[in-house]
Amino acid sequence: MINREAIALKHSRILAPLTQTGWLFWITVIPLFLIFVWSFFAFAWQYHWGLGETGMGHPMSWTLYLVNFVFFIGISHAGTLISAILRITNAGWRTPITRAAEVVTVFALAAGPTNILFDLGRSSRFIWVTTHAQFKSPLLWDFTCIMAYFTTCVLFLYVLMIPDIGLLRDRFPGRRWLYGPLSLGWAGTETQWKTLKKASAILCIAVIPVAVSVHTVVSWVFGMQTQPMWHSTIFGPYFVAGAIYSGIAAIILVAAIMRRVYRLEQYLQPIHFNNLGLLLLVMTLLWFYFTFAEYLTTLYGGGKEEMAVFWVKVAGKYSPLFWLMVLCCFVIPFPILAFKRTRTVLGTSIASVFILIGMWLERYLIIIPSLSEPRLFYERGSYMPSWVEWSMMAGLCAGFTLAIILFSKFFPVISIWEVEKEENDK
């Protein structure tokens, strides 16, 4: 008990956000909450009047909601995948980032598939996907994979948090109603540590193939279709790489903000951002490689339908977005991440913001132009999101941020027991 008290005192910086709530919290949370509530109104509006309230039409039948779906699933990737890989490889510097990464994963994974609910013509019948399932449909594969991934990620986050919850239970008797049942009677005995170690080892290994499969299958929702520039074998790995890319960027951003707001400078040191920046640099190059390979292959051997989509992206009406994407995903972040002098906390954060914008644009450019240029010559579409779609997107981002903020008010954002263990090992 005394030992625990000492630990809690030592890491009071990590535990501070759980008890202290300043003006910054309220001026962030209240607007976010209002936006979040507004999106419920927008959804009710859309549900009542029909999907006609969005900017969709014929043949642009899959638009902003699908873009957000792919984008958020992408963000969900890095979290668990990174923390699992770093755990398996025993990379010591991972310790303070893993919790944040796992939280981002879980909430992004909750936010992503919600878009499908918005996108359905009859959202209330969503359950039919399970009761009338047709497994020939890639959407069903998607549904299965995402459910499996979500379950694994929640378990992953939770299991690795049990020792910390045990600590919190003893530290905050007022919140026993929450921490009591969640700690599962954690007392820190030898057998309990052994079980935890075994469980986390199994989860680490289990989560990697599930994570890879999720984004591969998300890409197959497009890759299995006949649309020009969707029907491509590169989509699986391209989406996985892109997902990890945007995921790491999201983690860096979240970690940097938490570092600043919760004053965690002694835990989240520049070295961590340097290392994450190096990972991000690798992914930047990989992103460029995949994009280059995809576009060159299309340009060199593409049929006339593919070329129509290609030109509309590169030189047509979507070209400003396309070149903005190249700028955000490669031209700006690459030099920032390549030099050690700019690979600082601020530098990597700036690069991350650009990468997140760029990756969102990439998802947009994968989905929209292909649908606007179908195979038959006569059907040409254009698309502009309506206020409903923008509201839903804003609400989704607000909800995502809100969830992370509220999480940080109830649970430590840095894994205390792992930091402690790390120090003892040294």
């Binding site: 013509g121 890639p138 279709q225």
Partner: protein, 276 residues
């Protein structure tokens, strides 16, 4: 309520139609069981509905478009919606102007659902709301559809339409709606089904008289109204039928044949069809 029973996904008849036996297990379709000679013979005895559209005869009058709208209760979209590309045309007439004055050529092409032999749209539906029925018609089970729209995005001919709003008609038009056709609601997909209700009606008659449907007995709305007689409909399995003969014509071609979707709508045109 024959129509209802046919469309209801839970009815025995429909389940067998989709290819399930009464225990809910898939039978012959999709390679669970190898096709035997008996199966093949059975398949040849079945109808396989197809359509031939003679582009050399088509005058571009759009009577087929109007007739189809009237027959199938296709709702009105209104000017604002049309601009967003939300007009529904189960039968759509595309016009194309080629060249500059004085060498101008005008092309018309009516586009219904192609009723593919290998439809890309049916397999992607997560709730099996669309399927190819044993007579080759790609049908939509309206009450089952939850509006995922993956069938729309996977249709290379873009002939599937979505109900963005609850369907609406001008007041004076409402009394003219066809009672034989299922009324769609907002949030579901709909498409041309070769006037399935007319096929059903013809079958009811022939069942009483214990004979096969004769060539030319079934007339879809678009064919019935076509003043130049450009549209022909019938059984592609029957070598004596008019559609069969026409589909083998040297003028015949199909849209996007290289995709391997095996459309059952044939077009006739002298010379090369150029879809650029």
């Amino acid at each position: 309520m024959i129509i209802w029973e046919g469309f209801s996904p839970t009815s025995q008849r429909e389940r067998r139609c989709i290819g399930f036996n009464k225990f809910g297990v898939r039978s012959a379709e999709f390679g669970v069981r190898k096709k035997t000679d008996h199966d093949h013979k059975h398949e040849m005895n079945m109808y396989r509905w197809g359509m031939v559209i003679d582009l050399d005869r088509c005058t571009g009058c759009q009577a087929c478009v109007v007739a189809c709208r009237q027959e199938n209760n296709v709702p009105f979209a209104g000017e604002k919606e049309v601009r967003l590309g939300r007009a529904k045309f189960w039968m759509n007439l595309i016009t194309e102007v080629k060249g500059n004055y004085p060498d101008v050529e005008m092309h018309f092409i009516p586009i219904p659902c192609m009723q593919c032999g290998h439809p890309p749209c049916t397999t992607v539906c997560p709730v099996e709301a669309t399927y190819k029925n044993p007579e080759g018609i790609v049908a939509q089970i309206y009450p089952r559809c939850i509006g995922v729209r993956m069938c729309i995005s996977n249709c290379p001919y873009t002939v599937r339409y979505f109900n963005w709003y609850a369907p609406s008609w001008p007041e004076e038009y409402k009394r003219g709606r066809n009672p034989d056709v299922y009324k769609r609601r907002k949030g579901i997909t709909e498409k041309c089904n070769f006037c399935l209700h007319r096929i059903r009606k013809a079958k009811e008659n022939t069942k009483l008289e214990k004979r096969r449907i004769r060539d030319g007995e079934i007339v879809p709305a678009c064919m019935e109204t076509c003043p130049s007689g450009a549209i022909t409909f019938g059984d592609l399995n029957d070598p004596k039928s008019r559609v069969y003969r026409l589909s083998k014509s040297r003028r015949a071609f199909r849209l996007l044949e290289d995709l391997g979707t095996e459309p059952k709508v044939y077009y006739l045109k002298e010379g090369q069809w150029d879809d650029q």
